[in-house]
């Protein structure tokens, strides 16, 4: 983005401004006037232990970069949110190593639980490092809620698997028939109801969860099984934003009063699920090696994302490496978010149909 257009962007947009290098800076202006503030969001680093003191280099580098960039941010964020999946297999070594990289951050950090953090010891060591699995806090007129949305059925969690390692492995697979859908669960929903009982309906609410609090695609757990019940609890509030990790890709949605936005991963981008495609794929098998080291650019699709909630709706501007900057803004006509440059069919970039 050129310097000028960037300035215009800051001038025109400005509010909940987020950046994800892999990290997001969120600027909330619907807080009490004069109390504008920003927070940063980092998610899905999947720190992976190989052996001894060896960890997968690329995942380390993604998180280190996010931390380094977050420390440079102007304006300074008031706090940081970590969106979950700090570890890959939830081990002490991985959580410790991730916590050590995160310790370079100069800000107070709130942690969200991811399934890769949870299913080895059901969050025991994570809680020691990062605090409670769900909590809420008020900051300059906004009520923030952190949920653990990756829980599942009691039987699957406690009785089905012979070992904790096996349980972790089963939950980390995609399209796995042995998997189980994520949920917030009754106990936490009760807590949420009580927590919100004392909050005025006009207070802006921002919910952080790891999985989307909506149903997108079950095979990859882009899904929360009791999403409708959680949404019902949030329904009485005028302005609600749900910001989630887990999906490692760009998603946005509007359900009633609730705006949903994903935050990209520091580790790797997911494609949209093959098994979710409505048409059969005819992608040929690559038999001729390409004249390049591929994939070369490890930070692809883990770019910056600026959120603006000036209107109480979240508008996002994405800056991806080697890509045109795109803005997804709330469209008053359609009543939902849309890509402002690509709404007209004739204006869309045609999909690639040869390889």
């Amino acid at each position: 983005m050129s310097r000028n257009s960037r300035r215009d962007f800051l001038k025109n947009a400005a509010l909940l401004g987020v950046a994800t290098l892999p990290m997001s800076l969120v600027r909330l202006s619907f807080a009490k006037s004069g109390d504008d503030f920003t927070f940063a969001y980092i998610s899905d680093s999947h720190i992976q232990h190989i052996k001894g003191n060896q960890f997968v280099r690329n995942w380390d580098m993604g998180l280190k970069r996010a931390v380094a960039e977050a420390n440079l941010l102007v304006p300074k964020p008031d706090f940081v949110v970590y969106g979950g999946d700090l570890a890959q297999l939830g081990t002490k070594a991985e959580l410790d190593h991730g916590a050590e990289i995160m310790s370079a951050l100069k800000y107070k950090t709130h942690y969200v639980m991811g399934e890769h953090d949870y299913y080895l010891d059901l969050g025991a060591y994570w809680e020691k490092l990062f605090g409670p699995q769900w909590h809420s806090f008020d900051h300059k007129g906004v009520h923030f809620i952190v949920l653990n949305s990756v829980l599942t059925h009691h039987h699957w969690t406690y009785e089905r698997w012979p070992t904790a390692e096996r349980r972790m492995a089963e939950m980390s697979g995609l399209d796995n028939p042995n998997g189980s859908p994520f949920m917030v669960g009754e106990k936490q929903r009760e807590w949420l109801k009580n927590d919100l009982a004392k909050v005025p309906k006009s207070t802006p609410i921002v919910v952080f969860s790891h999985s989307p609090l909506q149903k997108i695609f079950k095979g990859w757990n882009f899904w929360t099984d009791d999403a409708e019940q959680v949404q019902a609890i949030l329904k009485p509030f005028q302005r609600v934003s749900v910001i989630y990790g887990h999906v490692h890709q760009i998603q946005y949605n509007q359900i009633g009063n609730i705006s949903f936005h994903s935050v990209m991963a520091t580790a790797w981008p997911w494609p949209y699920p093959q098994s979710y495609a409505l048409a059969e794929s005819h992608l040929p098998v690559l038999t001729v090696p390409m004249n390049r080291a591929d994939p070369f650019f490890e930070r692809d699709a883990t770019g910056w994302q600026f959120m603006n909630v000036k209107t109480g709706r979240v508008d996002l501007t994405y800056q991806l490496p080697n890509n045109t900057t795109r803005t997804v803004a709330f469209n008053a006509k359609t009543g939902k978010p849309g890509d402002i440059a690509y709404q007209e069919k004739t204006k869309r970039i045609p999909p690639q149909d040869h390889y």
Partner: protein
């Protein structure tokens, strides 16, 4: 097939043909078609004038420095073996002099790409305090207007322009036109790769395999089907220079830049003049964090002749360059990997033979035409 307007140059001093369709014994084998701006067509008169301006030392505060001082035809248009360039009064800059050869193909000029064209680029060294040291461009115009030979040459090159109308526009156009003739292909590699001639040894060919394979070089130093400029025209943090900035200073400088951007103000002079800021690279131009410590991918053509290497000349030999990349972006085992490192840079685990062959391959990229022995 690209056909270039077969213009002007048939009888020029520098034999250069833009007919890309014919037999390639024109020294351009392996180069793409050259984009020439429509407002600055290349003519013989302009090129001759440009070369003269390029070599004229009067356009510096001491009368001793010309473009050619740091871009010497005898040194493949660099000032090899200097680490960083020496300008007026032996003052040194912070960057290694890049070759002018094939710079006509660059999409941006300078190591940080802050200049968009050759025409714009040549404006700056004249008035840089450690390069040619002038306060402004006025003395250049004055010298030219008072030199009858120049007045005559400008008339010939620019449609009979009046003495009083000669400006930096014409000066920089003439220099750019000259630089656009300094394009060189037809290396041993080009003859092997694009013509199938047996010009490479078995080890050099193995080196090319490393170049496009394990070495991961080709991802930035691009080789195309019909031509190769050995650059992607992009900017990458490869772990050179950035480690010289102490962490505290980096944060402080970066925040000065970002604060200026946020407040829509100009960046403070003090920051811009801080020599440490030079190693922020492309970031200081775009103010994008993804550009932190990034520098332009340089061409590899004639690389054997342009040591030392990298934007700061910090690596003396091609072997050191290969070791740097093999470590995944560090110049010694002690040096830390910086967190802003470009996503493509990672440890390579090359064998000794692979490294040797890779260097041998790079030495096949030397062209001959514009190199004065």
């Amino acid at each position: 097939m690209i056909t270039y307007p077969k213009v002007w140059f048939a009888a020029a001093a520098v034999a250069l043909s833009f007919n890309f369709a014919g037999a390639r014994d024109d020294g351009l084998l392996g180069l793409p078609a050259l984009d020439v701006p429509s407002d600055n067509p290349i003519t013989k008169e302009k090129v001759v004038l440009g070369e003269r301006l390029f070599n004229d030392t009067r356009f510096s505060s001491t009368g001793k420095i010309s473009c050619a001082t740091c871009h010497s035809p005898a040194k493949a248009f660099t000032d090899s073996p200097l680490k960083t360039s020496k300008g007026i009064n032996d003052l040194t800059g912070t960057r290694n002099s890049p070759t002018v050869l094939n710079s006509a193909f660059n999409l941006t000029q300078f190591w940080d790409g802050r200049s968009p064209t050759l025409e714009n680029q040549s404006l700056h060294p004249f008035v840089n305090s450690v390069e040619m040291g002038l306060k402004d461009h006025a003395p250049i115009i004055e010298t030219i207007r008072n030199d009858p030979a120049y007045v005559e040459a400008f008339k010939k090159a620019f449609n009979g322009i009046d003495q009083g109308k000669i400006s930096m526009t014409e000066v920089t156009r003439a220099i750019a036109a000259f630089e656009r003739t300094l394009i060189d292909g037809d290396s041993r590699f080009d003859r092997w790769y694009y013509k199938g001639e047996p010009t490479l040894t078995a080890n050099e060919i193995k080196g090319f395999q490393v170049f496009i394979g394990n070495g991961r070089c080709v991802s930035c130093h691009a080789v195309e089907h019909t031509s190769a400029l050995f650059t992607d025209h992009k900017f990458h943090n490869i772990g050179v220079g950035i480690n010289r900035i102490p962490g505290k200073d980096l944060a402080q400088m970066a925040q000065e830049f970002l604060r200026a951007k946020y407040n829509r103000e100009e960046v403070d002079e003090k920051v811009l003049k801080n020599p440490l800021a030079s190693d922020l690279g492309r970031f200081a131009v775009t103010l994008e964090m993804t550009d932190m410590g990034g520098f332009k991918t340089s061409t590899l053509r004639n690389i054997d002749l342009t040591a030392p290497y990298m934007h700061d000349g910090s690596l003396k030999t091609l072997d050191e360059v290969v070791e740097h990349y093999n470590r995944g972006g560090a110049s010694s085992d002690k040096e830390p990997i910086n967190p802003y490192l470009s996503g493509g840079i990672r440890p390579l685990n090359l064998t000794t033979a692979e490294k040797k062959n890779l260097v041998a391959f790079m030495k096949t990229l030397t062209s001959g035409k514009h190199l004065k022995k």
